[in-house]
Symmetry: C2
Subunit: 137 residues, 2 copies
DNA sequence: ATAGATGCAAATTGTTTGCGGAACT
DNA sequence: AGTTCCGCAAACAATTTGCATCTAT
């Protein structure tokens, strides 16, 4: 296990207020990729007094501090996950919406090479695969 | 050159109305990746009577019919391009916002393999690289 | 003739913000 | 005490939609 979100907040000098603790906890307990609204519901289950505005503000804050990562699966809302311990990309099941994380060094390497060839230093990237489950698998 | 957008619309049995012709033309003339609003301005330059709502409706229609592709570079608005003659991905210059298209068979192949390994048939994917121009290149 | 398209304005959706009060250091 | 944070409601930006009216087929 890695440093909890709460610990990482403290490391970065953020005030750990009640709402932030709750949001950090809700994030820690999520091993999927909730959007703001879904996360808000989970937060509310822990403490109904926390507002949606604070969820948004806190998500933005955490993201700026690289405590969490903001994702975009093309459905118009942002999704969030704990700042990945290890970098990974996502495969989205087009039928169920299920999200599978994967990691592949070859593809990471290849991306770097492509950027270099084009005269760029790769600063970031986004890769999402969309697929249909193969029967019998 | 490939079939024009207008031709592809007719192929697919779409009514070619005035506004659609104008939007198709504006798209054809764009070799960048305009968002809806930018495209709307280009459309207006050709025919000021076309409304933004129609631009949105038509973009959605064209996209559903695979006549154009909708892209997302993470700035909160969708961007569009003619359905690519050849598939390609994008590298976005983080400093200028410039978008460079590239194509790389190895990475395409690798993505398919990854999906297969995970038990999926790849139906689509999205890859965006973000980079900083290397000095002197 | 008729199904489908359009313009306009109003509605939705996801997200951000101004403000007065509350909380952490 | 002072700065930062919070909840609430209002504000925003991008996109969609209801409706009465046109238009391509």
């Amino acid at each position: 296990m890695i440093a909890s979100i709460a610990e990482r907040c403290i490391d970065k000098g953020l005030k750990m207020t009640g709402p932030r603790k709750v949001i950090a906890k809700a994030l820690s307990q999520s091993d999927d990729h909730p959007n703001a609204d879904t996360l808000f519901q989970r937060v509310q289950a822990l403490d109904a007094s926390v507002s949606l505005a604070t969820v948004y503000r806190t998500l933005k804050l955490f993201e700026e501090r690289d405590i969490i990562a903001k994702l975009d699966f093309g459905d118009g809302r942002s999704r969030f996950e704990q700042a990945p311990r290890e970098h990974h990309d996502h495969l989205i099941d087009v039928q169920t919406g299920e999200v599978i994380e994967f990691q592949n060094d070859k593809i990471e390497q290849l991306q770097k090479e492509i950027a270099t060839e084009l005269g760029y230093e790769l600063t970031d990237h986004r890769l999402e695969l969309f697929g249909r489950k193969i029967e019998g698998k």
